[in-house]
């Protein structure tokens, strides 16, 4: 533990923490002092409040951890932090449920059974780390250092990335790209020359007409984004939601478009058709900022509202009406680019269509559209050059040429096929691969081909059961990570720092990486004793003095000077595309043999008696990571299968009863509670991802709800950048043979 933790008193005296400070000042103003309240208690009053950064999801809100007698009893939003603004989502507030989870990994483990049997013995850190270093070294001696790969998610991975780059491998990938946001980034890069990043550069709080296509804000609970969403609705924004499911957001919409799954591109092209046909756009702005408008006009000529209706099921007059609503408030109109956009394998082209529709609204750099961002520049730690290495193995020559980041699914393929070269060891950091990559069997087959695998995690997720060595990491509340300084409308750098000491023998990632570096002769890449020293050095090199650095530790965040959010109206913006303009027509796509403008192709439809499986999020859970969190389970204990009322009647499914979901071959999910509802089309079913855990060590999550990954056997790979579309799986449904099966009570 650090000595510099602030007491509540010191904390409250800091000017920047207005929310808490103001509360104390107002004490006498309210004056409820009749003494009766002794009966009710005073609530728990913190004796220490530590600012840090959340990691229950990856939005990374600034939080305040409230402690009493050394125990974190609650977590609130840090009012000084631009991503929380003093408020939190349920997951962030539920942080203590992870910290005090009895199922946490407490000791290093070494496998004694077969892979997947989850049989381990406890080991000392010394022995476990030796094993990992030996495992990597042996593979490197035989196949080269590039044969060691890493799959990761989360801020703590940065230390291991440095370790493996130093070791000499480029094969380091996060599923958050090819299984999530990647196609969106590429779609926008191809159109605007830059992606929308994370957090996204959306000026949603000022949007006057907002379109959500499959994005279910409010169920997908990125704190600031939902704050902005509520703000624009509160100011009277019009909302258009295209979604096969009547999402929470759809329930707030002026127009709900229950689009046939997989036909979104037709809808977007239809909107562009109407806007161009009617001339509902700013011609001077298009002239200054875009190229290829004439080609687009010709391209979308055939996507008439009537033609689009046939594909999407959305009435022609609704398409015209919504196009008009969008144009009426432009440029303060926004088509949300979504976040997990890996649906059908043509996701980059769909994202490009969204980017182009936004371009027609002229909203780049303008209020209510896409805002400009800035950051707090922080000096890097000076490190020796990383060794030379072979090119990354996540794709073959000429494949996925527009991929901007490594492909996790590509590393799995390389492991299976040994092409372009063998990968024989994995480090898996904080991502539960069997439930993250589509087609679980393929992932397990790849793992079986490995000579060595280490999993680093907080909880004994499924992936840990397949590892040779499991290293227990402490939670985000018990460790330092590197500074977090994204590009955002309000530039900031935030500090994750320990609130309590690590539980059991769990250790922070940085400590493990440094210990492994020692064993692998890579200490030169860790020229610091601990991350606090590293962070201080980086801040010092960035021009901050000791007092300012102390202030960062007390406030948890440094705020920068924001750049203007909007471009001057007549400004000639130099876009990062080859032409320097927003590209309606993409010559680079044409040159590479792809559609230079998005073209709609009718998706394969589910055969009779089958339904397209769609998945999404519950607001109180992050993927499958929180299904064991007792605080969060109370509000959403298990996922449900959403089935249209008419279909449920046909298939004998009862609301609140249980169903089995069958996929290709002999794949199926365990029993899942049925939600019979009007809120979904009849050609698809829906469940929240992240339930139905099979890992025995997850005592609360085990067997609770159903695992969509079990029937997500098929996927369509995006030919542009290698993203994996998940929404191409067709399932059959039946009442569960014994309705008392599964479904642990809340």
């Amino acid at each position: 533990m650090l000595k510099n933790k602030l007491s509540r008193r010191t904390f409250l005296s800091l000017a920047g923490v207005a929310g808490v400070g103001a509360g104390v000042a107002a004490k006498t103003a309210l004056g409820i002092t009749d003494g009766f309240l002794e009966d009710l208690g005073e609530g728990t009053v913190a004796d220490e409040v530590v600012p840090t950064v959340c990691e229950i999801c990856f939005w990374k809100c600034g939080v305040l951890a409230h402690k009493k007698d050394g125990r974190v009893f609650k977590i609130t939003g840090n009012p000084s932090h631009p991503l929380s603004r003093g408020r939190l989502c349920p997951r962030g507030a539920g942080g203590p449920g992870l910290l005090y989870d009895n199922d946490r990994l407490k000791k290093p483990l070494i496998r004694v059974g077969e892979r997947g049997e989850e049989k381990f013995r406890e080991a000392t850190w010394e022995e476990a780390l030796d094993r990992v270093a030996e495992g990597f070294q042996k593979v490197a001696d035989e196949h080269g250092p590039e044969a060691v790969g890493m799959l990761y998610h989360g801020a703590g991975a940065s230390f291991f990335k440095t370790l493996l780059h130093g070791f000499g491998t480029p094969n380091i990938a996060a599923p958050s790209y090819a299984q999530c946001r990647g196609p969106r980034e590429v779609g926008f890069e191809l159109t605007y020359g830059e992606g929308v990043g994370s957090p996204e550069n959306l000026d949603m709080r000022n949007t006057r007409t907002l379109v959500l296509i499959g994005a279910h804000l409010g169920e997908n609970m990125h704190n600031t984004q939902v704050q902005d969403f509520a703000e624009c609705l509160g100011k009277g924004a019009k909302l258009i939601v295209a979604d096969p499911r009547y999402s929470t957001a759809a329930g707030k919409a002026d127009w709900w478009l229950p689009v046939r799954p997989g036909t979104d591109i037709a809808l977007i092209l239809g909107w562009m058709h109407v806007i161009l046909r009617e001339g509902w756009y700013d011609k001077a702005w298009m002239q200054r900022n875009t190229i290829g408008l004439d080609k687009l006009e010709a391209h979308v000529a055939r996507y008439t509202p009537e033609a689009v209706f046939v594909e999407t099921g959305i009435e022609p007059d609704v398409i015209v009406e919504t196009a008009e609503a969008l144009s009426a408030t432009a440029p303060a109109s926004l088509v949300h680019p979504g976040r997990r956009v890996t649906w059908y394998g043509d996701d980059t082209q769909r994202s490009r269509a969204i980017a182009m529709l936004n371009a027609l609204l002229g909203n780049w750099g303008r209020p209510g559209g896409f805002n400009m961002t800035s950051n707090v520049p922080i000096a890097k730690t000076e490190l020796p050059a990383f060794p030379e290495h072979r090119p990354i193995a996540d794709k073959l020559d000429g494949q996925y040429i527009f991929a901007g980041s490594p492909l996790a699914s590509g590393l799995r393929d390389a492991t299976l096929t040994e092409k372009p070269y063998p990968i024989k060891a994995w480090m898996v950091y904080g991502c539960n691969l069997p439930n993250v990559l589509p087609n679980t069997q393929k992932t397990l087959d790849a793992i079986q081909k490995l000579d060595f695998m280490v999993a680093i995690d907080v909880l004994p997720a499924e992936v840990c059961g397949w590892a040779d060595v499991v290293l227990p990491e402490c939670t985000y509340l018990e460790r330092h990570d590197d500074l977090i300084a994204p590009w955002y409308r309000e530039p900031f750098a935030a500090l994750r720092q320990p609130v309590v000491d690590p539980m059991g023998e769990s250790k922070p990632g940085w400590w493990m990486a440094k210990q492994l570096a020692k064993r692998l002769g890579l200490e030169q890449f860790f020229p610091w004793e601990n991350p606090r020293e590293m962070i201080h050095a980086r801040l010092k090199a960035s021009g901050y003095n000791a007092a300012q650095i102390a202030d960062v530790e007390q406030r948890g965040v440094i705020l920068g000077e924001p750049e203007p959010l909007y471009l001057p109206t007549d400004y000639e913006y130099e876009y990062g595309t080859p032409s320097g303009k927003i590209e309606f027509f993409s010559q680079q796509l044409a040159d590479a043999g792809f559609d230079p403008m998005p073209t709609y192709r009718r998706p394969e439809m589910p055969p009779a008696g089958s339904f397209r499986l769609l998945t999404g999020r519950a607001p109180s859970h992050t993927f499958g990571r929180t299904a064991n969190n007792s605080l969060l389970l109370d509000s959403y204990p298990e996922n449900e299968l959403w089935v249209n009322r008419v279909i449920a009647a046909d298939f004998g499914l009862l609301h609140g009863g249980y169903a089995m979901v069958f996929g290709e071959g002999d794949t199926k999910t365990g029993p899942i509670r049925v939600k019979v509802t009007e809120r979904i089309r009849a050609d698809c079913v829906y469940m929240v991802h992240g339930f139905g855990h099979s890992a025995r060590g997850l005592s609360k999550a085990h067997g609770r709800g159903a695992n969509d990954s079990a029937v997500t056997t098929r996927y369509e790979t995006d030919p542009l950048m290698g993203g994996t579309g998940f929404n191409v799986n067709f399932v059959r449904i039946e009442p569960a043979p014994d309705s008392s099966l599964g479904g642990v009570e809340a």
Binding site: G77, P90, S635
Partner: protein, 184 residues
């Protein structure tokens, strides 16, 4: 300073803003040490119509802080009572025998029995109001949907919203005169 006896605290939830995320319920649990499996707050939802012509309302729900509280009338020991200074309905845990008469009487399902044997429900975070802080649910809410205020003070945010917005209250036919407003 206003006369203490004239306070009448209530709560409002903006159903346009509320996404039903349950951050309020979780923050309430950690603030008030609500045991696992129980809650003082929950998310409610009403869907009407047939596909695809639907309407839906989502809101965060809790004790309605009734002016005419059936729980107080039903309580044989005086544990459930109106707290004079704030006008809020409270449970004195030392007087509560856990008989559950109040649970049966409450039309809103707002109460539960703690493992220690006494009945618990939303206190409107009166311990925080006392310190001049917002309730835990209002403080955490990412959509600013929840607002707590004094209905006897026309300048309070809650009173202002009631004056300005369409609103409704739940189960008024039960004669409870609830002070929990849903803004639509």
């Amino acid at each position: 300073m206003q006369s203490l006896t004239k306070r009448r605290f209530g709560m409002g939830v903006d159903t346009v803003a509320c996404v039903g995320c349950s951050a309020c319920a979780i923050a309430c649990k950690t603030e008030n040490d609500v045991p696992q499996g129980h809650t003082r707050r929950w998310v409610n939802q009403r869907v009407e119509g047939r596909f695809p012509h639907l309407t839906m309302m989502v809101w965060s729900d809790s004790c309605q802080q009734c002016d005419d509280s059936p729980c107080v009338d039903a309580c044989p020991t005086g544990a459930s009572h109106v707290h004079e200074a704030t006008g809020t309905t409270q449970v004195d845990r030392n007087k509560c025998t856990g008989c559950k008469a109040c649970i049966a009487a409450c039309p809103y399902g707002a109460r539960y029995v703690r493992p220690e044997g006494y009945v618990d429900k939303c206190t409107l975070c009166i311990h925080r109001l006392k310190r001049g802080e917002r309730t835990a649910c209002e403080e955490v809410c990412p959509t600013k949907a929840i607002v707590v205020g004094d209905l006897n003070d026309s300048r309070s945010e809650l009173s202002r919203r009631i004056a300005a917005r369409h609103h409704r209250r739940q189960k008024v036919e039960a004669g409870t005169n609830p002070r929990f407003y849903l803004f639509t």
